[in-house]
Amino acid sequence: MALDLVPLWAAILAFGVFMYVLLDGFDLGIGILFPFAPDAAGRDAMMNSVAPIWDFNETWLVLGGVGLLAAFPLAFAIVIPAVYFPILFMLIGLIFRGVAFEFRHLSRRRHYWDRSFFVGSLLATFSQGIVLGTFVQGIPVAGRDYAGGSLGWLTPFALLTGAGLVAGYGLLGACWLVLKTEGALQAWARGRARMFTIGVAAFVAMVSLWTPLIQPQIRGRWFGGEHPLWLWPVPLITFALFVLLWRSLARGRDATPFLAALGIFAMAYLGVGISIFPMVVPYTFDLWQAAATPRSHAFLMIGTLFLLPIILGYTVWSYWVFRGKVKAGSGYG
């Protein structure tokens, strides 16, 4: 095989997971904020703001899972069993929140499905955070299989990243509402966004300080002799984005907070990537060891290079169709 597609596949998969985190991040965040909304009309507007796009957003999760299976099957076969229960909780959570979009309008007991929307979103987010924490901490491996127990994910660090992601998605959700709503609901969302900004900053700081302590590879990467100077911009830009977020919320901007929150997610994601690279089953197998055969990589790449731009094209179109503010009373159109 002439061409090594592993780096490109790693980039595409990283992009897909990042799209998921951003897009489902804000609509799971809507679910986390949901029961605290000022009134029923506000809750309807919150739902309306994501109803046409939520299942599209969730499709990126399927791409992440199936993409990992296709491009780095060994990682899929080891990492997913290691988080057996968090994945179960995430899936159950996503089911209960996904059906709530339609069910709450059809049920005579709407509050059940409102509750299911909130609890499902919270459970799914917390579980995803646990998966992230377990991944960063490292996974015990024997041969080509997961070697730990079914509760190996239950660690203080993973619980911290779980809580951190709840704050993070909450921040995205609140900033999305600042962008998409107006009036009292927007003012309320702005207040939540400020609250979550403080929370996210605290979690980012805690996780950044904790990871080098538990993992020698991460310590070496950020504080060792490799290229620490080259990495300095990552924490500095993150700090600058937090300042921008805070000030744009204070000044009542509509779009800047959402963009700043996206930026913070991008930097945190980049930070995790720098810490882990080139591992894909931390800290046993790297990307090349876990990769599918070049023939599989090539076959899938041909279609992906063609299809991804098309997908992004109609994504933009769909978001464009539903652009602008949602109104609390009337819905769209």
Binding site: D44, A70, A77
Partner: protein
């Protein structure tokens, strides 16, 4: 013995059986809605718009449930079948990834516009969105059945260190059982939807309501069935012959045929006794089995005893599920014929007993799809990749029985609740009828003039 393997198999059977009910309905319904939108776009007859607006909320509910239960599926391969994932992903991973890239994004990307965008985009764009959603469901069927068929009739790969390595992608995608399975399954999905459409129309016709809409629905449904039901008999026969060629042990189990024999009887009933390697209470038609499978009364058909006991599939389950599927096919044939005769005589609207029969018949397609699925999947055992990888070697080694018992219990409870509620709500949407009739807003605080955005309410 109850172990992680058996519980994992039960869990997979449970989540896929409930999930498949939704594509069995939405593949056909998406196409039906696209046809209705197209008919309205080109003819401007309002009845087509009313029909589309009636079905869209029902589609939204079932599609939402399909998405929610569908996300579960790929993760099952990782959580419970990690050995399978490691060994087969080089071949199957790209097929499933193509399903996501070609189908899932297409469906989800255009669904929002189809459900909520009627007033936001030009009519042609709304029609186009409907066509794209329907195309997405069909592309999804294509890729997932290709992957499934490769597990039934693997070709185009070699085995290196126990792992399957792709050699020829055309052979992998278009493996020997795929064309038959694709056509047979897709037609089954369309037939399922057609019977639902006819059954829903019957509900209102019996009450003398929405006569124009419901007769249009029944005629569209019967027209499709007149074509597909006879064709399905032919395709099913070809599929069976293909199975006989590539998976003869499955056919032996489906027919509960223990001995290799010419003039094999077609068993109408039997009680297979796997321990004694024979049937009890056999009732059969002599030589008909050979005639159907070999197209010759003297054709020799291989029996189960040709295989070692450890290589045989279970017998009773495929034997009965296959008979259930075929039996339903016969009932469908009769109903279609009756409907066509009534239509020709112009008596559809007043044929009370026919309409009464059509209501429970709405469930027939689902039962037949499940029965057929069980037949083909149980008949594949004890292999997960036929003849090459045993199911027992595919399970995640780190799992304890208690882990899987807990997750299985969670899936059973969650799905029972969600599917129960979903069915109830769809029934409510059906009873609500058409926009022209009485249209009570479902519920919610009366004081709030909220028109919340959901497919169920907004698409009306």
């Amino acid at each position: 013995m109850i172990d992680a393997l058996l519980l994992s198999r039960l869990q997979f059977a449970w989540v896929i059986a409930l999930h498949i009910l939704l594509p069995a309905f939405t593949v056909g319904l998406a196409a039906y809605i696209a046809v209705l939108e197209g008919a309205y776009f080109f003819t401007r007859r309002p009845v087509f718009l009313r029909l589309s607006k009636f079905w869209l909320p029902i589609f939204a509910v079932s599609f939402g449930m399909g998405v929610a239960s569908g996300i579960v599926m790929p993760f099952q391969f990782g959580t419970n079948w990690s050995r399978y994932s490691d060994l087969t992903a080089d071949v199957l991973g790209p097929l499933m990834a193509y399903e996501v890239l070609m189908a899932f994004f297409l469906e989800a990307g255009f669904l929002g516009v189809l459900l909520f965008g009627r007033e936001r985009v030009p009519p042609w764009a709304h029609f186009f969105a409907g066509v794209m959603v329907a195309a997405g469901t069909l592309l999804s069927t294509f890729w997932i059945l290709s992957a499934n068929s490769w597990m039934q009739t693997p070709t185009g790969q070699t085995v290196v260190d126990g792992r399957f390595v792709p050699q020829d992608w055309l052979q992998i995608v278009f493996n020997p059982s795929f064309p038959y399975r694709l056509v047979h399954t897709t037609m089954a999905f369309f037939i399922t939807t057609a019977f639902v459409v006819i059954g829903v129309a019957a509900y209102h016709l019996r009450r003398g309501r929405h006569v124009e809409e419901c007769l249009t629905m029944q005629k569209m449904g019967l027209g499709l069935l007149a074509l597909l039901v006879p064709l399905q008999v032919l395709v099913g026969d070809l599929h069976g012959l293909n199975t006989l060629e590539h998976q003869p042990a499955k056919i032996a189990a489906m027919e509960a045929n223990w001995e290799t024999q010419a003039r094999m009887p077609l068993l109408l009933f039997a009680w297979p006794d796997e321990a004694a390697e024979r049937n009890r209470l056999e009732i059969g038609v002599p030589a008909l089995g050979s005639l159907i499978l070999g197209h010759d009364v003297n054709a020799v058909i291989r029996g189960l005893k040709d295989w070692k006991a450890e290589d045989r599939p279970p017998v009773a389950i495929p034997f009965f599920s296959f008979r259930l599927m075929v039996g339903i096919g016969v009932v469908m044939f009769g109903l279609t014929l009756a409907g066509l005769v009534l239509w020709r005589r112009g008596r559809l609207a007043h044929a009370r007993s026919f309409q009464w029969l059509c209501m429970p018949a709405a469930s027939l397609g689902f039962i037949a799809v499940l029965a057929g699925w069980v037949t083909t999947e149980v008949g594949r055992q004890p292999w997960v990749v036929y003849g090459l990888l045993r199911t027992r070697d595919a399970v995640t080694p780190s799992l304890a029985a208690s882990d899987v018992a807990a997750s299985l219990a969670a899936y059973v409870l969650a799905y029972a609740l969600i599917f129960g509620a979903g069915l109830l709500f769809m029934a409510r949407l059906v009873r609500r009828g058409f926009a022209a009739g009485a249209e009570p807003e479902p519920e919610g605080p009366v004081a709030t003039p909220a028109r919340p955005l959901s497919g169920a309410t907004r698409a009306r």
